[in-house]
């Protein structure tokens, strides 16, 4: 008896989910774009209801916040480039299915090493010499910070997500300890470091943007055309296959993560010496986590990661402007809106990966068909005498 009932239930399920294999790119892009528009609409609705924000003005403010003045324009591209840089660092490890959640920590140790060298060598040695020591040191620091969990993963198969995550906290602790040691009194802020700053080209942003573009080209080559890139994707697909074809899995894991950490360390160096001119426990502003969203949305494709990174920076900077223009006095509201937009973008992946079928009277149909059927059925049921259209409409309601 109960078996029969479950069987009956199965049959009458309202929704049925099916994996998609055939969605063309333009359609998936259209779905993403549609969801972004819907998310923005809901976000602005929340702002309008709770703060009386004019939604049309807010859209304008978002664009002004990112591109409104030359400074904002360059800052936008610099921040986007930095986020892209972190994304590029994460891609190889993610492709290998090594979930590197420690980007933040790797950035912070890179920045910390840079800051220490700026403090201790800056002014004593020529800036160019300090920079030449600083860049490889930061890269090394980031690489070591990533290699520790990678070695444990390769040798003892420890969980890399937790390990890399915890390394973030250790790095923040190191920064705090350094500041307490070096600046024990005052409000524990390192004064702006004016020696050995990263060189600039035309303005503060252009050189950083160009460097990240070079990094992007390198990463495209590394993943697509180099032997390393091939090996890491095989390890990501299946470790056993990799072993079978003679790939040294342990070596590939450690090597790939070292590349990942090295890039993060370098971004840390750029932040400390070219953007912030200091190191703080909040250095990197959680880019190690934000970049995960950028990379995930881009399906680990470096070029699409550029687009997603710039989009994320656009909404972040845009919301900052909306917040100040509308006198929203807390940081929670813009974060809520940004979170909502992320939620929608991530949520829409479901509709790209899967087909949702709706059961109507024992017949399964696609959403579009279902909506169509709603309208057609109306006409079917109600036979409208042509003269009393308005009245009939009332009845239907």
């Amino acid at each position: 008896m109960p078996e029969k009932m479950t069987a009956k239930k199965e049959k009458n399920k309202l929704f049925h989910v099916e994996k998609r294999f055939d969605m063309p790119l333009w359609q998936s892009l259209l779905i993403r774009f549609g969801f972004i528009v819907v998310a923005l609409f809901i976000a602005l609705l929340i702002l309008t209801i709770s703060y009386g924000v004019n939604p049309f003005a807010a859209v304008g403010q978002m664009f002004i916040g990112s591109f409104g003045t030359p400074k904002r324009f360059w800052d936008f591209f610099r921040d986007g480039a930095l986020l892209l840089g972190v994304g590029l660092a994460l891609i190889p490890s993610f492709k290998m299915k090594f979930w590197n959640l420690g980007g933040n920590g790797q950035i912070i140790v890179g920045a910390l090493v840079s800051a220490i060298l700026m403090i201790d060598l800056g002014g004593k040695l020529p800036d160019a010499v300090v920079l030449l020591i600083m860049i490889p040191s930061s890269i090394l620091a980031g690489a070591v910070w990533a290699a520790i969990p990678a070695i444990f993963k390769a040798l003892f198969n420890t969980n890399e997500s937790l390990f890399t995550l915890m390394m973030n906290y250790v790095s923040v602790g190191l920064v705090n300890a350094f500041i307490m040691f070096k600046y024990p009194i005052g409000s524990h802020i390192i004064p702006r470091l004016n020696n050995a700053n990263f060189p600039t080209l035309f303005n503060d942003s252009l050189l950083i943007i160009l460097i990240v573009l070079v990094l992007l080209a390198f990463m495209v080559y590394y993943l697509k055309f180099s032997k390393h890139g091939y090996e890491l994707s095989v390890v990501g697909e299946s470790m056993n296959t990799a072993r079978y074809v003679g790939i040294n899995v342990k070596k590939v894991i450690i090597r790939t993560i070292v590349v990942s950490g090295a890039i993060c360390g370098f971004i840390g160096c750029l932040l400390a010496s070219g953007v912030d001119f200091t190191v703080m426990p909040t250095t990197g502003n959680n880019m190690g986590f934000t970049a995960i969203i950028a990379v995930w949305l881009a399906k680990f494709n470096p070029i699409i990661t550029a687009a997603t990174s710039f989009f994320i920076v656009f909404i972040t900077r845009g919301m900052t402007k909306v917040q100040s223009d509308n006198n929203i006095m807390n940081d929670a509201t813009p974060n809520l809106v940004i979170g909502l937009i992320y939620f929608f973008i991530i949520g829409c992946e479901f509709f790209i990966e899967y087909k949702l079928l709706i059961n109507k009277g024992g017949k399964e149909m696609k959403i579009t068909e279902f909506i169509k059927s709603l309208f057609t059925s109306k006409v079917d049921k109600v036979k409208l005498p042509p003269a009393t259209e308005g009245v009939e409409e009332e009845e239907v309601k």
Binding site: A57, Y183, P184, I189, M329
Partner: protein
């Protein structure tokens, strides 16, 4: 229905355009705050800023969540680009980064609260401001002393130790807790105080933990100089009287709130707005006082304060105004421990004292440097009273001696 929607859309669009082109004539003024309204410290600034902008009919914009780093320069630069003529920043760590913006925008005035570098930076459009909040802290201390005395009278075994949660170990915080302690000491002469630092301006967990540790360590009354609700709510939970800062915390702590001192920034904001409007210069260092309404104490709590506190406060306040009471009157405290201190950051070499341990001279770090070197004599004798001249040489506090009776955990 469709037509109505279209009409609504059109109306909103027009409203949007109107709001873009509307108030072009109003002067634009900006405020950068470290945190948002959830922080009692920043809320105090935001409220005063809104009130001042409304009173003066200027267009005020606030940017919250501005980090004490390059983000502050960026935020200030953006405000300049948006046409602001006057920009305020509210956190100690903003100063250096605000100064960078000031160097780039000579026709915009930059005013920094709590900073100490304006008088040495010599940047004509950069100004520091503070208030003689030590007088407010002293008054709050008097209210705490009255409460402690009441507790001792009711139960002779009451601990004469009080506790203080401070943010960072430097002059602004030390000057604050010393003046508070001296206020308590003026009522209960043998009181001692333990201070715990959280090393953050806003860390609710750390502030709550520190307050609880002080309470568990036998402190009878708690006060704080940190910006979250951590310490006041910890006191409410354990029913320990609390002396607050930045404004009343009675709404969430009705049983334990005694009084709060705060700086009212509105007079300064209004003065600066007027100055910019009329093209006048703003003081490099400006110190608000009780007389300028900049230093305020809130109304007493309804339940916790001792009887007769209001009358006592009125009396002391009048004497502070007339100069009959000096908060840092050297005859009221001794510095034996500080003179005997041999640690790395000892102030002993800057201290001269008499045989009883009372200060007779002190070189304070007025011209800010990273090593906190003493450079300016801060002890003054006036009308027969020898006192530490706080906030007279520059607006930000420079009293940084740990006096006898206060211990750092």
């Amino acid at each position: 229905m469709k037509k109505q929607l279209l009409a609504l859309t059109a109306m909103l669009a027009i409203a949007g355009l109107a709001s873009c082109t509307g108030n072009t004539e109003k002067m634009k003024v900006g405020l950068l705050t470290l945190h948002g309204e959830d922080s009692t410290y920043d809320k105090n600034f935001i409220d005063a800023f809104k009130a001042a902008c409304d009173a003066k009919g200027v267009d005020g914009k606030v940017q919250t969540g501005v980090d004490e780093g390059a983000a502050c320069t960026t935020a200030a630069d953006n405000m300049v680009d948006d046409g602001a003529k006057l920009i305020f920043a509210d956190s100690f760590g903003h100063e250096e980064y605000l100064l960078k913006s000031a160097e780039k925008a000579a026709n915009v005035q930059f005013c920094h609260a709590t900073g100490n570098q304006a008088h040495t930076a010599k940047q004509a459009n950069f100004h520091d401001a503070f208030a003689s909040i030590y007088e407010g802290r002293y008054l709050a201390g008097v209210a705490a002393g009255m409460k402690l005395q009441e507790m001792i009278t009711a139960d002779a075994s009451t601990s004469k130790k009080i506790g203080y949660v401070g943010a960072f170990p430097y002059a602004e915080v030390i000057s604050g807790f010393t003046s508070y302690y001296l206020g308590v000491k003026s009522i209960v002469s043998d009181v001692t105080m333990e201070v715990r630092y959280t090393n953050s301006w806003y860390d609710e967990t750390a502030e709550r933990t520190a307050a609880n540790a002080l309470i568990d360590g036998g402190c009878s009354i708690i006060s704080q100089h940190a910006d979250s609700w951590g310490a006041p709510t910890a006191c409410e939970a354990k029913n320990v009287p609390n002396i607050s800062y930045n404004g009343s915390t009675e709404s969430q702590c009705p049983n334990t709130f005694v009084i709060s001192s705060k700086i009212n920034w509105q007079p300064y904001f209004e003065m600066c707005i007027d100055a910019v409007k009329e093209g006048k210069s703003i003081d490099t260092d400006w110190t608000g006082t009780i007389a300028t309404e900049s230093v305020q104490i809130t109304e007493l709590g309804k339940k916790a304060p001792a009887a007769g506190t209001q009358a006592k406060l009125d009396e002391v306040k009048a004497k502070l105004k007339s100069g009959e009471i000096k908060v840092f009157d050297c005859s009221t405290f001794t510095v034996n421990n500080a003179k005997a201190d041999t640690s790395d950051f000892s102030k002993a070499s800057y201290i001269t004292m008499d045989a009883d341990g009372h200060l007779t001279g002190y070189l304070a770090d007025v011209d800010f440097d990273k090593a906190y070197t003493g450079d300016t004599e801060a002890i003054k004798t006036e009308g027969g009273k020898t006192y530490f001249a706080e906030s007279e040489k520059r607006s930000a506090p420079y009293f940084d001696i740990i006096i006898d009776g206060i211990s750092i955990a």
